[in-house]
């Protein structure tokens, strides 16, 4: 038996040549081919990263790609919706009894509050008219673009979502995005701001992103001014930072966007009065300069299905 026998000969006892395999030949040429292919793909990825990150040259292509992909995403969502609704229905059933009791009590309290608020609103309108007062921009000063979410946040790092409205609908980089339930004027609670715009889609950076921050105030105590940003751990918690020890913030207070403070050149992109969350805990020690305030967001950032984008009024 020659020394340079093949494994086929040893295993099968035959030296008959097989047809070229369709699988993974391991000859030197195929190893070279493999290296060339993976090298080219890695190089292409690096070029794409560089071009996409440093310029907007690929934005058109990406926007078109996203537009082509959109009907499929909507179709997938529609197909999955009945299953998601069923899961939601069962989940809701488990909590329904507790929620019912809690909501009845809340309803009573809100009814009483509404009567007081209606009086205050009426008085506010009268006084504003009488004094010819021009306040900071509010949600009422914007047009509202209602749209749906087409892609949710992916992975542990990303805190942004893709919405089904773009520059053709008046959406701009920096447009404020809110959730379409509750809140004054039926506008809802703050979600984040638009950071990339294409003709029919836009990307929204959520308030829970580590680079997001918004100047905020306590709705019942406007002297409290701070900056709302993501808490250290879970995105379920926001913190109201930079609030001095006086005046004290109470647990349960609602925190809203402060809007522009004064008439400086750096105007806030957030209109005043968009609800953000309620104070869930507060503490401070003698050594602290500021209060440690945690907020429970009014928005469940994990399940946003539709949003309202505030765009400047046409004309």
């Amino acid at each position: 038996m020659p020394r340079n026998r093949t494994v086929r000969l040893a295993v099968l006892g035959s030296s008959v040549q097989r047809a070229a395999p369709s699988g993974f030949p391991s000859s030197r040429s195929s190893a070279l081919k493999r290296r060339i292919v993976v090298g080219l793909l890695v190089l292409a990825s690096l070029v794409l990263i560089t071009v996409s990150f440093r310029s907007s040259a690929l934005d058109g292509v990406q926007g078109t790609g996203a537009t082509v992909l959109r009907p499929f995403e909507v179709a997938a969502d529609r197909i999955a919706r009945p299953f998601a609704d069923t899961i939601g229905w069962f989940r809701g059933l488990v909590d329904a009894k507790n929620d019912n009791k809690k909501l009845r009590a809340q309803n009573e309290a809100l009814r009483r509050q509404l009567i007081l608020d209606e009086g205050a609103i009426h008085q506010n309108v009268e006084l504003t008219k009488a004094l010819n007062y021009k306040g900071p921009p509010s949600v009422a000063g914007f047009d509202k673009v209602r749209t749906s979410v087409v892609a949710n946040p992916q992975g542990a790092i990303e805190e942004n979502l893709v919405i089904d409205a773009g520059s053709s609908d008046g959406v701009r980089v920096g447009s404020v995005v809110v959730e379409p339930i509750g809140g004054p004027d039926g506008s809802g609670a703050l979600i984040g701001t638009v950071d990339r715009v294409f003709s029919h889609e836009a990307r929204v950076t959520l308030l829970t992103d580590s680079e997001s921050a918004v100047t905020a105030t306590d709705i019942t105590n406007p002297q409290v001014i701070g900056s709302v940003q993501r808490g250290g751990g879970s995105s379920d918690v926001l913190v109201l930072d930079r609030v001095p020890k006086r005046p004290v913030v109470r647990i349960g207070d609602t925190i809203v966007t402060a809007g522009s403070l004064g008439a400086g050149p750096l105007k806030s992109k957030y209109p005043r009065g968009i609800p953000i969350g309620t104070v869930s805990s507060r503490s401070s020690t003698d050594a602290d300069l500021f209060q440690n305030i945690q907020l429970k967001p009014l928005v469940d950032f994990s399940s946003i299905q539709s949003v309202i984008v505030l765009v400047p009024k046409a004309g």
Partner: protein, 170 residues
């Protein structure tokens, strides 16, 4: 035929991930695309895995309006590496898909973190470290049905083809 099947499987997986699974916070760290890609790469080899990874990454980056190329780079390397693992040693072993998914899931998350950091974007390492156990668990759970399905769609290659994969010298 394999190319068409892989394109269809990965496209459906990408749609599921973009619009359906990530609606639930629990599934945000899991990646059905990664599991499907690694399963295909394990059964069809390194070149197939690398190309499939590149195209799927491009699809995901387009769908999320993210920086093009980041996901492509990570999935290309993941697909290639697991493809090589399948070619050389592991294709018939029961634990191969689970080991592949576990290792690449962790590397994918940290690779993503590293790229974000290098691009000067927020890279919260603590958040990723906290997310790794959940992502590992969910991806391993997903591996069971996904790999079974993909093994049906991409039956293992013939014995003869496999024998030629290893060349003995001496």
């Amino acid at each position: 035929m394999d190319v068409l099947k892989a394109a269809l499987v990965l496209f459906v997986a990408a749609l599921l991930q973009l619009s359906v699974l990530t609606e639930y916070r629990l599934f945000r760290t899991a990646s059905i695309v990664l599991v499907a890609l690694l399963s295909i790469a394990l059964l069809r080899g390194s070149i197939f895995g690398a190309v499939a990874g590149f195209v799927t990454g491009l699809l995901l980056d387009t769908g999320t309006l993210g920086t093009l190329g980041i996901t492509s780079l990570l999935l290309t390397l993941g697909g290639f590496w697991i493809g090589r693992y399948g070619e050389t040693t592991a294709r018939d072993r029961f634990h191969a898909p689970y080991v592949s998914v576990a290792v690449v899931t962790a590397l994918y998350l940290f690779g993503q973190l590293m790229l974000q950091f290098m691009l000067g974007e927020p890279a919260p390492a603590g958040l990723v470290a906290h997310g790794v156990p959940g992502a590992l668990l969910l991806n391993l759970i997903l591996t069971l049905p996904v790999y079974a399905l993909i093994r049906r769609l991409f039956p293992p290659l013939e014995l003869g083809d496999r024998i030629r994969e290893v060349r003995l010298l001496g």
